[in-house]
Symmetry: C2
Subunit: 686 residues, 2 copies
C-alpha cells in the first residue's frame, strides 16, 4: 500500500507536468518571427544540441566508471545487499539530472525565437513568453526531482527506516551530473563570451553580437548550455539531495512521527510546487512596465502561499508532537531566508545601491580601481549572507529544540531547508527567464531588427540579468542549509554503518584540522581550475576567430563567417577542460576519506562547504556588480559608452564573467557533490 503522503506528491507532480505541457503547447504555437530571426535561432539550436550531446557522452563515460566503483565499494565492504540498489539509484539519479538539463536547454532554444518575434510588437508579450519558457523548465525539473525520489523510494521497498539510506545513490547521481553540466556549460558560455568580446569588440572594433563575428553564435549557444542547462541541473540536485538528506534525518524521528516524518520533506516540496504554479500563473507582462514588478509580485505570492501550505503540512504530518507549531516557525525561517537572500543580492548587484555605484565611480580612474573596488565589494558580500545563514541555523535549531523532541533541533534545521526549497520551481522559472531574454536579445540584434525592438529587448535583458544574479543568491543560500543537513545525514549514515554513535567531529584533533585545511584548499584550487579553463578555451576561440577575420569578405560583410567551426572549437575546449577539475573534486575527497577516515573527512566536508559558500558569494556578487556597473555606465552615467570609464568597466565585466557564470555556480554544485559523495561512499571511510 502506498502512503497518502506519497500519493499527494505524485499527484501534484503530475499536475505540474500537465501544466508544463499546456504552457509548452501554447508557447510552441506562437509566431516564430522573420526568416532572419529563424536563421539565427536555428543556428543556436543546432549548436546547443550538438554541445549537449557531446557533453553528456563524456559525462556518461565517467558516470559509468563511478557506477562500477560504487558497486564494488558496497560489494566488497560487506554490503552486498545494497550494492545493486545503490548503483542503480545512482544511475537513475544521474539520468534524471541529465534529462533535467536537456529539457531546460530544449525549452530555452525554442522559446528565445518566439520571445524575439513577440518583441516586434509588445514587450509585455515578450516577457510572458520568456517567463513561461522558464516556468516550463522550472515545473518539469522540480517535478522530475520529486518524482524521481518518490518513485525510487517506492521501487526500493518504501521502508521508512531503511530505504532513505538506499536512495542516497540517486542524490549522488544527480550531483555528479549537475557538476559536469554546470562546469562544462559554464566554461563553454564564458569562453565564447570572453573570446567573442576580446577578439570582436577589443581587437576588431566591431559591436557585440555583430553578425560578422564568427564567435557570436557560440556566445548565444553558451547562454543555453551554461545558464539554462547548468542551473537546471543545479537546482534539480539541490532538491533531490536535500530531500534525501532530510528523509534520513526523519528516520531518527521515526518513533515520534512514523513514516510521516520521513516523507515530510517531499510532501512539503510538492506543496511548494503547487504554490509555485499559482505564482507562475499570476505573472502577466504589461507593455511599458518594469518587468521586475510582475516577477517580484509572483515571487511574493508564491512565498506567501507556501507559508500557508507549510502550516497545514506541518500540522498534518508532524502534528503528533505537541510542539509542532515550532516546526512551522522553523520552516518560516527558511521561507524568510529565501526572501532575505534575494534582497541582499539585489542590494549588492543593482545600480540603485551603493556598491555598484561605487564601482562605477571607481571606473573614472581606470580599470585598476574599478577592479580593486569590485573585488572589495565581492569580499564584503560574504558578511550579511553569512550572518543570515548563521541566524537561520541557530533559530531553526532552537525552534526545533522547543518542540521537546529528541533530535528535534536538527530536524528543525531540516524543516527550514524544506521551507527554503518550497519556492524552488518559481525561482527556477525566474532564473531561466534570464538567459532566454538574453538570447532573444541576441537574435533581435543579429537579425537586424529595428531600433525600437532592440530597446524593448534591452529592458527585458536587464531584468534577466537581475533575476540571474538573484537566483544565484537563492541557490547558494539553499545550498548552505541543504549541506548542513547532508552532514548530519552523513553522520547518521556512518553511525548506522559502524553501529556506533558518530556525533563528534573534533576540529582540535590533528587529522580533522588537516582535513579541514585541505577542504578549504580544494575549493580554491577548484575555482582556479574553473577560471583557468575559461581563459584557456577563450584563447582557442580567439585564435579561431582571428583566422577567419583574415578573410576580407567576412569583415566586409559579403561572406558569411563559419559559425560552426567556432562552436566546434568551443565545445572541444570546454569538454577537455572540464575533466581535470571534475575529476579532482571527486578523487580528492575519496583520497582524504580513505587515508584519514570518516572523521577527518567530515572536517574536510564542513570546512570545504563553508569556504565554498563564501567564495561562491564573492565570485557571483562581484561578477554581477561589475556587469551592472558596466550597464550603468552604458546607460549614460560617467560619460556613457565610449568614455574612458566605460573601457575600464568593460575590463571589470570581462573578469567577472568566469567568476559569476563558471566558477561561482559550479561551487554551488561542488559543495553538495562533496556531501552526497561522502554519503554514498561512506562504507569506504569507516
Amino acid at each position: 500500500m502506498i502512503e497518502t503522503a506519497l500519493v499527494v506528491v505524485i499527484v501534484i507532480c503530475l499536475i505540474a507536468l500537465i501544466l508544463a505541457a499546456l504552457l509548452a503547447r501554447n508557447l510552441l504555437s506562437q509566431d516564430e518571427g522573420t526568416p532572419k530571426m529563424r536563421e539565427v535561432s536555428d543556428a543556436i539550436k543546432v549548436g546547443a544540441e550538438a554541445f549537449i550531446k557531446r557533453q553528456y557522452s563524456t559525462i556518461a563515460i565517467i558516470a559509468i566508471i563511478l557506477a562500477v566503483v560504487i558497486f564494488v565499494v558496497y560489494y566488497f565492504t560487506g554490503q552486498q545487499s545494497l550494492a545493486v540498489y545503490t548503483a542503480v539509484s545512482y544511475i537513475i539519479g544521474a539520468t534524471c539530472s541529465a534529462v533535467a538539463g536537456v529539457v531546460a536547454m530544449s525549452i530555452a532554444v525554442r522559446t528565445n525565437i518566439r520571445t524575439a518575434a513577440a518583441a516586434q510588437h509588445s514587450d509585455g508579450k515578450a516577457l510572458d513568453y520568456s517567463f513561461r519558457g522558464g516556468a516550463i523548465s522550472g515545473l518539469i525539473i522540480t517535478s522530475m526531482s520529486l518524482l524521481g525520489v518518490s518513485l525510487t523510494y517506492i521501487a526500493l521497498g518504501a521502508n521508512p527506516q531503511t530505504t532513505p539510506f538506499v536512495i542516497l545513490g540517486f542524490g549522488f547521481g544527480a550531483s555528479f551530473v549537475a557538476l559536469f553540466a554546470q562546469l562544462g556549460g559554464g566554461i563553454y558560455t564564458k569562453a565564447a563570451d570572453v573570446g567573442a568580446d576580446l577578439v570582436g569588440k577589443v581587437e576588431a572594433g566591431i559591436p557585440e553580437d555583430d553578425v560578422r563575428n564568427p564567435a557570436t553564435i557560440a556566445d548565444l549557444v553558451g547562454d543555453n548550455v551554461g545558464d539554462c542547462a547548468g542551473r537546471g541541473a543545479d537546482l534539480f540536485e539541490s532538491t533531490a539531495a536535500e530531500n534525501i538528506g532530510a528523509m534520513i534525518l526523519g528516520v531518527a524521528l521515526f518513533p515520534v512521527f512514523g513514516v510521516n516524518g520521513v516523507l515530510f520533506p517531499i510532501v512539503m516540496c510538492s506543496l511548494g510546487l503547487l504554490a509555485s504554479m499559482i505564482g507562475i500563473l499570476t505573472v502577466k507582462g504589461k507593455d511599458g512596465a518594469d518587468p521586475m514588478d510582475a516577477l517580484n509580485r509572483g515571487y511574493y505570492i508564491t512565498a506567501i502561499i507556501s507559508a500557508v501550505f507549510l502550516f497545514f503540512g506541518v500540522q498534518w504530518l508532524l502534528g503528533a508532537a505537541t510542539g509542532w507549531l515550532y516546526f512551522f516557525y522553523a520552516g518560516l525561517v527558511g521561507i524568510v531566508l529565501s526572501v532575505c537572500f534575494l534582497r541582499v543580492t539585489l542590494y549588492y548587484t543593482d545600480h540603485h545601491y551603493r556598491p555598484v555605484k561605487e564601482i562605477a565611480d571607481a571606473s573614472e580612474t581606470g580599470a585598476a580601481t574599478n577592479i580593486i573596488t569590485g573585488f572589495s565589494v565581492g569580499l564584503e558580500t560574504t558578511a550579511i549572507p553569512a550572518i543570515l545563514i548563521a541566524i537561520s541555523l541557530l533559530l531553526s535549531y532552537w525552534f526545533g529544540s522547543m518542540t521537546g523532541i529528541e533530535s528535534g533541533g536538527l530536524y528543525g534545521t531540516a524543516v527550514a531547508t524544506v521551507g527554503m526549497l518550497m519556492v524552488c520551481a518559481y525561482v527556477l522559472a525566474m532564473d531561466t527567464f534570464g538567459p532566454i531574454a538574453d538570447n532573444a536579445g541576441g537574435i533581435v540584434e543579429m537579425s537586424g531588427a529595428p531600433e525600437e525592438v532592440r530597446k524593448r529587448m534591452d529592458s527585458l535583458d536587464a531584468a534577466g540579468n537581475t533575476t540571474k544574479a538573484l537566483t544565484k543568491g537563492y541557490a547558494i543560500g539553499s545550498a548552505s542549509l541543504a549541506v548542513f543537513l547532508l552532514f548530519n545525514a552523513y553522520m547518521a549514515d556512518i553511525s548506522k554503518l559502524t553501529a556506533k554513535a558518530f556525533d563528534v567531529v573534533n576540529l582540535a584533533s590533528v587529522p580533522v584540522f588537516v582535513g579541514a585545511l585541505l577542504g578549504a584548499m580544494l575549493v580554491f584550487l577548484f575555482a582556479s581550475f574553473a577560471i583557468r579553463a575559461v581563459s584557456k578555451t577563450a584563447q582557442s576561440v580567439i585564435e579561431a576567430v582571428r583566422i577567419q577575420f583574415k578573410n576580407p569578405g567576412i569583415m566586409a560583410g559579403t561572406q558569411k563567417p563559419d559559425y560552426a567551426a567556432v562552436i566546434d572549437i568551443t565545445t572541444q575546449g570546454a569538454l577537455r577542460n572540464m575533466v581535470l577539475p571534475g575529476v579532482l573534486v571527486i578523487g580528492f575527497p575519496i583520497f582524504i576519506g580513505v587515508t584519514m577516515r570518516h572523521e577527518a573527512l567530515a572536517g574536510f566536508l564542513m570546512v570545504a562547504t563553508i569556504t565554498g559558500i563564501l567564495l561562491a558569494l564573492i565570485l557571483n556578487n562581484s561578477g554581477g556588480a561589475w556587469d551592472n556597473a558596466k550597464k550603468f555606465i552604458e546607460s549614460g552615467a560617467h560619460g556613457g559608452k565610449k568614455s574612458e570609464a566605460h573601457k575600464a568597466a568593460v575590463i571589470g565585466d570581462t573578469l567577472g564573467d568566469p567568476f559569476k557564470d563558471t566558477a561561482g555556480p559550479s561551487l554551488h554544485v561542488l559543495i553538495k557533490l562533496l556531501a552526497t559523495l561522502s554519503l554514498v561512499l561512506a562504507p569506504l571511510f569507516i
Copy 2:
C-alpha cells in the same frame, strides 16, 4: 636562582644586540652620498618619522582602552590575582612590539641613503649595506622578542607551571600593535603607491619616481612604514606568540621534562638567533654577481647550523625522554618546511617559471586576461602550501607521538614550529633588505644619478622584490604552525580556568559550525575593508596631487612640489581607515565568545585561521606574480615597456598592490591576533 637555560637565552640575545650595534656603527660611518641624495633621504626620514609618531599615538589610545578591558575582565571573573599581571604584561608586549617597529623603520631610513651612495661605485657594496641594514633590524627585533618573553617570565615569578599562563598578555600586546602597525603601514604604502602611479604615470604621463610628482616622497616613505615597520612588528609577534604558546604546551609535559620542557622554545629560538648571526656574517656582495646567490647561500648556512643546534638543544633539554630523537625529527620538519615554503613562493612569483610567464603571455590580450590568469594563479597557490602544512602537522605530530610521552604528539607540532622559527632573524634581515633597496633605488632615481648607477640599483631592487615575496611565504607558513599551537594553548588555558578538560571542538554542533562560518566570513570582510581602505586613501592622494599639478611651475619643474602636504594627507587617510577593520577584528571575536561561549569561539578561531592562511597566500602570491609579470615585460618580453601588453600588466600590478602589501600581510597578523586575543580574554568565554 635563574635557570641555566634562561641564562643562555639572555646571553645570546645580548651578543646579538652587540653585533647589531657594531654593524650599525660601521654602517652609519659610511658615505651619505650627494647633497641631492641627502635631500631626498631627509624628506623620507621626516615623513616616516612623522607617520610613525602619529600612528603609534592612535594605537596607544586603543591599546590603553584594551588594557583596562583586560584588567576588568580578570578582576571581575574572579581572577583578581592575575588582573594586574596580565594587564602589565600586555602593556610590555605592546610597547616592545612598537619599539620593534620603530627600530626597523629607523634603521631603514638611515640605510637607504648609504646604499644609494654605495651604488655610485659598487653593487657589491650596495648589497652589503642594504642587507646589513636588514640584519640590524632582524637581530634587534628577534632578540627583543626573546628578551621580552624571558624577562617578563622572570619578573612574573618564573614558576614553570603557572607563569606561562600569566605572560599571555605579552603575546596579545605584541599581536595587537603588530596588527595596527601592519594595517596602517600597509594602507599608507599602497595608497601612496597607487595614488602616485595613477595620477602620475596614467594621468599626467610622467615616469615613476619623477621629482615633479608630489606623491613620490610619500610613496618612498610608505616602503619604510609599511614594509619595514610592518613586517618587523609581524615577526616580532610571531616569535613572541609562538614561544608563549609552546611554553604553555610545555607545562603539560612538566612531569617528564620539568622546567626544561617549558623553556625549550625560547632556548631554541635563541640558538636559532646564533645561527642567523653566523649566516648573516657570511653574506658578502660581489660586483656583477646576482645578489640572490649570496642571500640564498646565507640562508642555507643558517638553516643547516640551526639543524645542528636543534640536535644538541633537544638532547640537552628533552633528553630525559628515551625517544628524544623523535623530537629532533619533528624540529627538522619545521626547518625543512621553511625551505619548502621559500621554494614554492619562488616558483609562483619568479618569472623563470610557468605562472608568471603565463600571466605575461595573457597580457597580450589585454588587462582582463592578465587579471583572470593572475587571479587563477593566486587561487592555485593555495594547493602546495596547504599540502605542505598538512604533511608537516601530521608528520611532527606522529614523530611526537613516537616518543611515547603523553601529549607528545602535540608537543611534536610545537617543536616543529620552533624549528621553523629558528631562522627567523635571518629571514627578517632578508626581508627588510627589500624595502631598503627599493628606497635606495628611489633616491638614486630622484637625485638624477647617472644611468649606470640606476642599472646597479635595478638588479638589487629586483632581488629585493623576490626576497619580499619569499619572506611573506615564510611568514604565513610559520604563522600557520604557530596558530595551531596557540589553539591548543587556548584549550589548555580554558581547561585550567574551568578545571575541566576541554579537548573537543565539535564542528557538528550548530553553534560551533556557525562560529566556524562566521570566522571564515570575518577574514573575507577584513580583507575587503583593508583593500577598500587603500582605494579610499589613494583617492585622497589623487585629489591632492591633481590640485598641485594645476600649478604650471610644478609640471615645468621650476617649482618644487609640496611633498609634505601629500604625506600629511596619506597619513591622515591611513590612520582613519585602519580603525574600522582593526576594531572589527577585535570586537567580533569577543562578541562571538561572549554570546556563544568558548567552544564556538574555538571553531571560529580555527576556521578563521584556515581561511586566513589560504586567503593570505592568494593575495600575496597573485600580487607578487603580477608585479613580476610586469617587470618581466619591462625587461623586454612581449614588446617591453610602452607595449599594449605592458599597459595591461601595469593594471594587474596595481590591483596586486593592496593584495600583497596591505591585505595579505595584515592577515598574517590577524590570524595570530585572534588566537592571542582568545587566550587572554578566555575568562570571558567560559
